[in-house]
């Protein structure tokens, strides 16, 4: 399996505090990669670097390279808007816009220049189907998105991200704010999506990582401690720190 994102010696500082230390990792295409680790280990920071969402935070310094395909994403010539179209993001707390369901999903395509009602209708339907929520909302596309339940809102956010046809989907603890049933719906969804998309998911829930991911990366204090096939990492971890973390012997 080829790598779609290659990270080499990535370091990141928030002011004087170093949050990522020399992280190097190759993310394989069309698979699910899980990022695990205790709170504050840098996994969310790492995720947000991949689509340059960290640009929004002042005072950040980055060294090292992140290559998406052949392109260095920190190059001045890189169009950030296009980068974020191809590398989409789903956040921890569902954040649909205070607009109709239709407008939420159509927001991305409209941003990138898609006009014409027929075309947008198509995209909205396709995205909502891909996110396994079409049947639940097809009769109320004009209703405000905030009227949906938490789990539905999160699937709507996934549909919104899928609407621009990304290649990679970044998910930052997407189910931590949801009930068990919504959580398993979204896990099922991720497993279906990995045929078409590369998914990188940050999760606190190790059982979730074991259930759905192909590869797992364990972060600790800003370092990438271990990275490998999920089954192997969880049954025979190489590094003792990994073993201690996954067996719950330290927080």
């Amino acid at each position: 399996m080829s790598s779609i994102i290659t990270i080499d010696k990535l370091c990141l500082w928030y002011g004087s505090q170093q949050a990522l230390k020399n992280v190097s990792i190759d993310i394989p295409d069309k698979s699910i990669t899980a990022l695990i680790g205790p709170s504050g280990c840098g996994k969310s920071t790492f995720l947000k670097t991949l689509n340059r969402m960290n640009d929004l935070i002042p005072g950040i310094r980055i060294t090292g390279s992140v290559k998406y395909g052949e392109t260095d994403i920190f190059n001045f010539a890189t169009d950030v808007s296009e980068l974020r179209r191809q590398i989409g993001m789903v956040f921890q707390k569902p954040n649909p816009f205070p607009m109709s369901i239709y407008d939420n999903v159509a927001y991305g395509p409209r941003t990138h220049g898609v006009k014409g009602k027929a075309k947008l209708d198509d995209i909205v339907e396709r995205s909502l189907r891909d996110a396994a929520i079409w049947d639940e909302v097809k009769d109320r596309l004009k209703k405000n998105a905030l009227s949906l339940s938490g789990g539905q809102q999160q699937r709507l956010c996934i549909a919104r991200a899928l609407a621009v046809e990304p290649a990679v989907l970044l998910m930052d603890e997407p189910t931590s704010a949801l009930d068990p049933i919504s959580t398993s719906k979204i896990e099922e969804l991720a497993l279906q999506l990995k045929d078409k998309y590369t998914i990188i998911i940050v999760t606190h829930n190790m059982q979730q990582a074991v259930r759905i991911s192909d590869n797992t990366a364990f972060f600790l204090l800003g370092e990438l401690v271990e990275y490998g096939a999920t089954e192997k990492l969880f049954s025979q971890p190489v590094d003792k720190r990994t073993e201690d973390y996954i067996t719950g012997r330290f927080g």
Partner: protein
């Protein structure tokens, strides 16, 4: 063991305090009611269709406040047209774009201070700067510009408050989809702020209607009946200024109280409009 009863002295004290508070509240209400009643009683009998629809005529010794009404309208329109883009734009800059926290703090402090300066000083400065230095002479436009400076802090503050209530997660979501900064502001942030901006507008209109001292120096007291463009470039009295002139300089207390009654009515209407608008938007947001 807990003794459930208070001592007589304590009960007396509590009772006295409560009575005192009631008295103060009653006094406040009474003052307001007295004021409203006095003005209405003295003013309403003087309001007639003739008063409202004609301009003053020395020949027939008739008093008409139509030009004053029109001047007020022109000044409100002119002020709003200028202060809204300036105030909203400044607020957007401060909340969304400015990175240096100290600069933002300085600008906000300056705006706060501006709103506290006595309005007659604005009048003086406006007269010297707009009327004499920029050569606008005594005109409604000079008055409008002076009012712009006075109302800028209000618009800025209400817009900023509104912008701050928009959750950061909306912006993140929009950025994550590849939208640029201005698009994010235009499509996700501003729509949520419209209610705050409108409220700020209404409050400003209230302030403009009530302003007299600043306009005295800058807009003058003419009673000519003009169209909007001519009106803006010439001197004119607004309702408040007219009130002053009729009361102090012409001794026409009847007309003065009539204007006072009208102004009071307008104030009540404005306040009601502001409250209703807020309630409407709050209900809309709760959906």
């Amino acid at each position: 063991m807990l003794n459930g009863k208070l001592s007589r002295k304590r009960r007396g004290y509590i009772g006295l305090m409560r009575a005192l508070m009631y008295a103060f509240a009653a006094l406040t209400c009474a003052l307001v009611l007295f004021l409203i009643a006095y003005v209405l009683v003295k003013g309403v009998p003087n309001i007639s269709w003739e008063l409202l629809s004609t301009s003053p005529s020395y020949l027939t010794e008739r008093i008409g406040i139509l030009p004053d009404i029109l001047n007020t309208v022109y000044i409100v329109i002119a002020t709003l047209l200028i202060v809204l883009p300036l105030g909203v734009g400044a607020a957007i800059y401060l909340t969304e774009y400015a990175k240096n926290k100290r600069v933002v703090a300085v600008i906000e402090y300056a705006a706060e201070t501006l709103s506290g300066i006595p309005s007659i000083i604005y009048g003086l400065v406006g007269m010297l700067f707009f009327c004499q230095f920029l050569g606008m002479q005594t005109s409604l436009l000079a008055g409008a510009l002076t009012l712009v400076i006075m109302n800028l802090p209000t618009i800025m503050r209400t817009t900023q408050e509104s912008l701050k209530t928009v959750p950061q997660s909306y912006r993140e979501g929009a950025f994550g989809l590849g939208a640029g900064k201005w698009r994010v502001i235009r499509t996700v942030v501003l729509p949520g702020c419209v209610d705050g901006i409108i409220t700020g507008c209404i409050l400003s209109v209230g302030r403009i209607l009530g302003e007299s001292a600043a306009l005295l120096f800058t807009a003058g007291f003419a009673h000519a009946l003009n169209g909007i463009f001519e009106g803006l470039t010439s001197a004119g009295a607004t309702l408040t200024v007219a009130l002053y002139v009729y009361a102090k300089e012409q001794g026409e207390f009847g007309a003065a109280f009539a204007i006072a009654a009208i102004l009071m009515g307008l104030t009540l209407v404005i306040n009601l409009a502001a409250a209703l608008t807020q309630r409407y938007f709050r209900r809309k947001k709760a959906l």
